[in-house]
């Protein structure tokens, strides 16, 4: 049932878009142009110590978290990008590294709805988790809505469906799962 609803949503959005491309072509011309770059992300490094955080050895804890989301518009309205995630934590006794990387493509449909534009999203993510000795593969697609706040900033939302595979390497177990999600965030464009 979930698959049917999502596919129906995507098909109906795409149909509307391609029937009325001409109407919004002019308005969209100022956003999402070939040669534009988009960027998002953060880096957070912290060291925690004291009774709350120390391990049994009395050592503090170092944590690094970062997400980097980069994109480039090779042609108008089409963004090709990649997401990189890195998580590190280290105490006196043990440490762990999580990494994830994957490509994504966003296509901005030249059909204005309200003050924003819908877009189609396809992406994947390949992750490894040292602590659990596991690997994850995610394939996601979805329908988004992007509202330009100004020429450099957009508020974006994305309704997505993801097919996931989790492999516990040592136990040689592979399990499958899926997720439906909704994300809201802010994207910045560097022209």
């Amino acid at each position: 049932m979930k698959y049917i609803i999502l596919v129906a949503l995507l098909i109906s959005a795409a149909s509307m878009a391609f029937c009325q491309i001409d109407e919004a072509e002019e308005e969209l011309a100022e956003y999402y142009m070939g040669g534009d770059r988009e960027v998002g992300g953060f880096l957070h490094i912290k060291y925690q110590s004291g009774d709350i955080y120390n391990d049994v050895d009395g050592s503090g804890k170092l944590t690094v978290d970062d997400i980097l989301d980069l994109g480039y518009f090779p042609i108008d309205k089409l963004s090709i990008g990649a997401m990189v995630k890195l998580g590190i934590w280290k105490t006196g006794l043990e440490s762990s590294i999580n990494t994830a990387i994957g490509p994504r493509i966003d296509y901005y449909i030249p059909y204005r709805i309200g003050s924003g534009y819908p877009y189609l999203h396809v992406g994947s993510l390949f992750a490894t988790y040292e602590a659990t000795d596991s690997k994850e593969t995610h394939y996601e697609f979805g329908l988004g809505y992007s509202v330009p706040v100004n020429e450099y900033v957009s508020i974006v939302s994305l309704l997505y469906y993801s097919m996931d595979e989790i492999e516990l390497v040592e136990a040689t177990i592979v399990e499958n799962g899926s997720r439906i999600g909704l994300r809201f965030g802010i994207k910045s464009y560097h022209f």
């Binding site: 960027v39 998002g40 992300g41 953060f42 880096l43 957070h44 490094i45 912290k46 060291y47 925690q48 110590s49 004291g50 009774d51 709350i52 955080y53 120390n54 690094v64 970062d66 980097l68 890195l86 590190i88 280290k90 440490s95 590294i97 990494t99 706040v149 100004n150 020429e151 450099y152 900033v153 996931d164 595979e165 989790i166 399990e175 499958n176 799962g177 899926s178 997720r179 439906i180 999600g181 909704l182 994300r183 809201f184 965030g185 802010i186 910045s188 560097h190 022209f191």
Partner: protein, 199 residues
């Protein structure tokens, strides 16, 4: 391996900051208004909702999980150079009969040393955060937390509305478990991220 990844991180982020700064030569001239004026809104944050299912995620009774994460960061310049805002982060996960909630909330004040068209600005931040954590399965974090954070930061604009910012902070933390004595701790950190402004 750990050191290499750590250094790679720093290189990527500082590389972007330097690249952005190099692009500011022409943008300085285009800026007509200083960025930290009374009435400006600074905006950030995210929201996500996920419903997950399948062997990989379900519990032994076959229940899927629901995750919600809400982290807005909004500030308002009550006067030139001073932004007052709120920090809020809420994470929730539930699987069958078990659930956990993690809430951070508190005010923050940013004060910028100057308000002109220069692309790089120094500022100071002060915030008080309250954290409430509860979980049906992990009890050692359940209780009330207070964090007092402060530190200097630098913002590097790459266009009129977007800047990279870096904040070095110190946090003094106090944790009172639901059934125990108060514990204290300290956190030192570096945050790099993006800020956006609406005039």
């Amino acid at each position: 391996m750990l050191k290499h990844l750590f250094l790679l991180n720093l290189m990527i982020f500082f590389g972007f900051s330097i690249a952005a700064a190099q692009n500011m030569g022409s943008l300085q001239l285009e800026k007509e208004e200083p960025p930290f004026q009374k009435g400006t809104i600074d905006l950030g944050g995210s929201f996500s909702f996920e419903s997950i299912s399948g062997d990989a995620y379900e519990d032994i009774d076959g229940n899927g999980a629901t995750r919600i994460s809400f982290a807005p960061d909004v500030g308002y310049f009550v006067m030139d150079k001073m932004s007052v805002g709120g920090l809020l982060r809420f994470d929730s996960e539930s699987i069958g009969d078990t659930s956990s909630q993690d809430l951070f909330i508190g005010p923050r004040v940013n004060y910028y040393l100057r308000n002109d068209n220069h692309f790089r600005h120094f500022y100071g931040q002060f915030s008080i955060l309250y954290r409430a954590y509860s979980s049906d399965s992990v009890n050692d974090l359940s209780g009330n937390w207070f964090k007092i954070q402060f530190g200097p930061g630098i913002q590097s604009f790459w266009n009129k509305y977007v800047s990279w910012n870096a904040l070095v902070y110190v946090s003094m933390d106090q944790f009172t478990p639901e059934d125990g004595d108060s514990l204290s701790g300290m956190e030192m950190g570096l945050r790099l991220g993006l800020s956006t402004y609406i005039f």
